[in-house]
Amino acid sequence: MLNKEPSKTSSANKISKRFFAKQSVMPGQQFGAPGQGVNKLISTVTVIILFLLWVAVTETGLIKPLFLPSPSAVFNKFVVISTVGFANSTLLEHTLTSLYRIFGAFFLACLTAIPIGILMGANRVVRGIFDPPIEFYRPLPPLAYLPLVIIWFGIGETSKILLIYLAIFAPLAISARSGVRSASIEQIHAAYSMGASATQVVLRVILKSALPEIFTGMRIGIGVGWTTLVASEMIASTSGLGFMVLNAAEFLASDVVIMGIIVIGVFAFGFDLFMRYLERVFVPWKGKA
């Protein structure tokens, strides 16, 4: 009787039991470990169901094309814009323009935010200087300071890249700064005891230890960069994916809007996968030390 489950359990208890898998486990799994197991199949099914739902509600005419165009309409637009173009540019040109802005901004952010973040973590003077401005502008919505950027830097490429750059800079600098703390004091002491100079400790111990967090910061940063793309292409643009979506919205061309969103999503997700691959190559020790 002792090893028998109590028969009367509340329904909440039953649900939480099912949900958190308090049940006997498969070989190789650990009892009670939260969230274990593979979810790839379930995720694939989710995507397929969402897509089928989209097909169903549009093909049956349940939702009008103005609100949600059918997948085939979106695909047609994809073909048309790829060949004929939209607002005087083909899809490839729109995409390349946006990629240039995003990765230009990302590259500049990496070049500046990583050293500044590391120095903020390693030096109290640098931290004292950069902490207030970064912490102040970081939570501001880019659309709020967009007018100022235009007034100061005009309506050219500079303003567009600057807006995305600012969005990427803050999370990246903050990650690099907190990554400085990844090096244990013993590792730093050991390096000094082997004759390292302060510069060598920063470059060869602290920076290296911070790499996992820097990679996380780069992934968060580029994600924020994509979300700022549309805002930046509000500035007197004639091409770009963000411009394309905004422009199409004015004509209520929701098929172009959805197509643009999907292209942005595919590139953003693809780059994230690439970053995860780089992370595995460059920081194979992550989480193992």
Binding site: S184, E186, Q187, H189, A190, A191, Y192, S193, M194, G195, A196, S197, Q200, R204, V205, K208, L211, V283, P284, W285, K288, A289
Partner: protein, 271 residues
């Protein structure tokens, strides 16, 4: 050969309340001769690690001075190799790159530093593991890499802060013997902290007992159990000899007395 001297050394640091001063160690006079193996034991909080940090140059004394040879120690340097309780190796480097890291920092050419690192890895029995990742090694092997790394700059002395505390009992005994062999072959002077009295007696040529509040040296013994082991290679026999056991009980009762007094002073539950 160089010797290390602590002359009237005291360390105080600010306490939690403003204006409060906590004395970590006081009136420490200690000479470590070249080639000797000095082990320090004592109740927790007696300032063992403070003493090691002084020698390493991680902290500075508030009073007195710390001299290696006739140079005052003010900062860490390659003349004092440190082995930590947790390995403190660099996980992005493989085993041999970790061992040669110090020489790399000092600008040695690759073939030269490889040779020295390989020699030191052989000394700790890891000649087969040059290209392993640090996180693939067991705790005992990681500590052996740590010892090889500390030796690579050919330091005047080794400072070891409870390097075996995190190891299981069996590995611990193996590494004790290995360490005695390394000491015997390299003739380095070693300063070693441990909580295990048995380990201390087995390794030390000179055993120091410290008492807390404030931390000071209360007892010092010259021992030869390590040379008995190096002669007979029978650790268990050395550790069961009557004078070993008697010594162990003597030292244990000193430390135990200190712990008891400490608990009483703190009004602790275990007093």
């Amino acid at each position: 050969m160089d010797e290390l001297n602590l002359i009237n050394v005291g360390v105080t640091f600010p306490g939690q309340r403003p204006g409060e001063q906590v004395t970590a160690i006081e009136d420490i006079n200690l000479t470590i001769h070249g080639g000797s193996f000095v082990v320090v034991v004592g109740a927790s909080g007696c300032g063992k690690t403070t003493l090691l940090n002084l020698m390493a140059g991680f902290i500075s004394p508030s009073k007195g001075e710390v001299l290696l040879g006739n140079r005052k120690i003010t900062a860490p340097g390659p003349d004092r190799g440190v082995v930590f309780q947790k390995h403190a190796l660099l996980p992005w480097l493989n085993v041999i790159e970790n061992v040669e890291f110090g020489l790399d920092l000092q600008g040695f050419p690759k073939d030269k530093r490889r040779k020295i690192a390989a020699k030191n890895l052989a000394l700790v029995g890891l000649q087969e593991f040059h290209n392993h990742a640090i996180y693939q090694l067991s705790g005992g092997m990681q500590q052996r890499v740590g010892i090889a790394r500390a030796l690579t700059s050919d330091p005047a002395m080794l400072l070891m802060d409870e390097p075996m505390a995190a190891l299981d009992a069996l590995t611990r005994e193996t590494i004790q013997e290995l360490l005695l062999d390394v000491w015997d072959k390299t003739n380095k002077m070693i300063f070693f902290i441990t909580h295990s009295v048995e380990e201390a007696l087995f390794l030390a040529t000179k055993l120091i007992v410290m008492s807390p509040r404030p931390g000071r040296i209360t007892h010092s013994y010259d021992l030869d159990f390590q040379s008995r082991f190096l002669r007979t290679r029978d650790a268990r026999a050395v550790k069961s000899e009557p004078d070993f056991i008697k010594m162990r009980e003597t030292v244990l009762s000193i430390i135990y007395g200190d712990e008891k007094a400490l608990n009483k002073a703190q009004g602790g539950l275990h007093a």
